[in-house]
Symmetry: C2
Subunit: 343 residues, 2 copies
């Protein structure tokens, strides 16, 4: 059912039809009613592609996304969807494994589909700055959900660095002086900021860091298939063998922390009495872990709302703009795994 056919059946012109469709007041009431009732009957829906081609707007925000929607991203993605929807926008998923080539291909595809703007979901790839830059130069609004040093772009993000510092300080308040951190193998800012926050916390507490307590997963190749749970399990086994060993472990993510909890049990290390464990994310399962996890809650709803609001502002009022950076703080959720509360 096209407008062409519609006007034939209705005996009105395309202009009038269009006016009815757009609720224009410049149409006689009788005509409008006739057209509307016929439209309902025929169940007409305008072709969004043709419309977009003409108007140069798709009401769509492209997501420069992960190759896999992982647990860590899914909540953000959902919140973005909800926030966008509420403003009459839809989202379109692009997929990329994060390599510059994949990102470039992903960007090309999103632009070929004429998205109105692009949000980069949870990536911290310094290597991809040229790709991000090219989006901005082409005039397409771009927002990163993670700060990338050297990239002058709008950014809305949860302050991971500060969050990890807060975790460390929380542990020190509870008497810990020898803390370790378990990191994944990526080279993203995502990982780096966790380490930086950890170091900052140690420093602020006036402690000296034992470098060997920074435990990194090995080469990406072999870890590609591993889940965060599995990774945590393996990293913990390394950490438990240390002598002396840390009295507290800060984990890259909640899933990783849960893997650590399992390794702890199997090695006869009791949590939190012998070792404290804290995670990051506050995903749904954190509360139900073997030992309920102390972790940092990410206000993803706020993040998404801010990002979408900013994006729509960028899309709809194209003027001179100076990049903004909106940091959103995570908040600590104290449960049992840090040993700070007695059951």
């Amino acid at each position: 059912m096209t407008q062409h056919e519609l006007v034939r059946r209705l005996g009105v012109s395309r202009g009038t039809l269009h006016r009815v469709l757009t609720d224009s007041p410049l149409v006689k009431e009788a005509t409008r009613e006739k057209v509307l009732s016929e439209l309902k009957k025929l169940n007409y829906t305008p072709n969004a592609l043709a419309r977009a081609l003409k108007t140069r707007k798709t009401q769509t925000i492209g997501i420069l996304g992960p190759s896999e929607i992982k647990a860590a991203n899914i909540n953000k993605l959902n919140e973005i969807y909800v926030a966008a929807r509420a403003k009459g926008y839809r989202i379109e998923l692009g997929y990329s494994d994060g390599s510059p080539e994949a990102d470039e291909a992903c960007i090309r595809e999103l632009k070929a589909r004429m998205v109105d703007g692009i949000i980069a979901l949870g990536r911290g790839m310094v290597d991809n700055i040229p790709q991000y830059q090219s989006i901005i130069e082409s005039g397409t609004p771009f927002i990163s959900l993670y700060p990338i040093p050297g990239l002058n772009a709008d950014c809305v993000y949860v302050d991971t660095q500060k969050a990890f510092m807060e975790l460390v300080l929380h542990l020190t308040h509870n008497g810990h002086r020898e803390m370790g951190i378990l990191l994944d193998s990526s080279v993203s800012q995502y990982t780096k900021n966790r380490e930086l926050g950890f170091r900052a916390g140690i420093e602020q507490a006036g402690l000296t860091l034992c470098e060997s307590f920074i435990v990194r997963a090995r080469s990406t190749e072999e870890n590609a298939e591993r889940s965060d749970y599995q990774l945590g399990y393996e990293l913990a086994e390394r950490a438990f063998k240390m002598n002396p060993r840390p009295t507290a472990l800060v984990c890259f993510s909640d899933e990783l922390a849960i893997g650590v909890l399992r390794a702890a049990e199997q090695n006869g290390v009791s949590v939190p009495s012998q070792i404290a464990i804290v995670g990051y994310d506050d995903f749904e399962g954190a509360k139900f872990a073997r030992v309920p996890l102390t972790t940092m809650h990410q206000p993803n709803e706020v993040l998404a709302q801010e990002a979408v609001d900013l994006m729509i502002r960028r899309i709809e009022q194209s003027g001179p703009k100076t990049s903004v950076s909106i940091a959103i703080p995570a908040s600590i959720v104290v449960r049992e795994s840090c040993g700070c509360i007695t059951k």
Copy 2:
């Protein structure tokens, strides 16, 4: 950069340009090289919307999806994406809360964007049959990832009913005779098939079912906000109070089972010695639960591959077709929570 502009700069016609773009052999080598090199330089990407408008094909599979991408769906979604991508198709997410109205709106939107076919992701809503039927009648290929009684459509699905039966039989082999099942509050086939499989298992084992051991979550309204973890926790508290109580609990999902494990610990019920718990899904965290979960593994990769293959066949060879139904078996993964293996 449009073809119009391109031909101006290159001094060739649109026809020739198009032939180069589509690797047609009917173009002189010299011309081709000149055009290609210029294309690279200008970083030209054809407008996908305009192309789709003309060719009537978007190389896109629409997903009649959930309003939220939940853990249970995410893995399927990823696998569909990968399988589709490998065949040169992309996916486009529609969102619906599952109500007939939302589904209808979602379908309209997908069709307005001219998706080549629609896959319904993990829903079992009998109420929405008219909506699904309308897709089929309009000639758009449609595949459901869950069987819906009364709907004559292509279907590729994991056989949940058989899976739950298998769980029950596994438990009976281990001596259980009084089993219960914990169900969510939805009225979908999704939930119903679990119950049916459970009942079938009891019957096949020659046992009599205690109806009160079928524990259903209460009204959807108040449960909307609850995670499966939380739901499991609450349902377990009800189950533990029964007297006599079941010696084994079959859970709607792994997440729900993990909630049950927590409730068990808090109520001093030891798993598996005092009560056996089994889940369904084999999600990443199942192995790392408080007590590693015995569960059914869903071969989502196979499911996605079959669904995408079938979909592309339907899209590309439009002929007379008779609906097929492909059932894929889940397989049991025995861990500690059922008590069948000694640590």
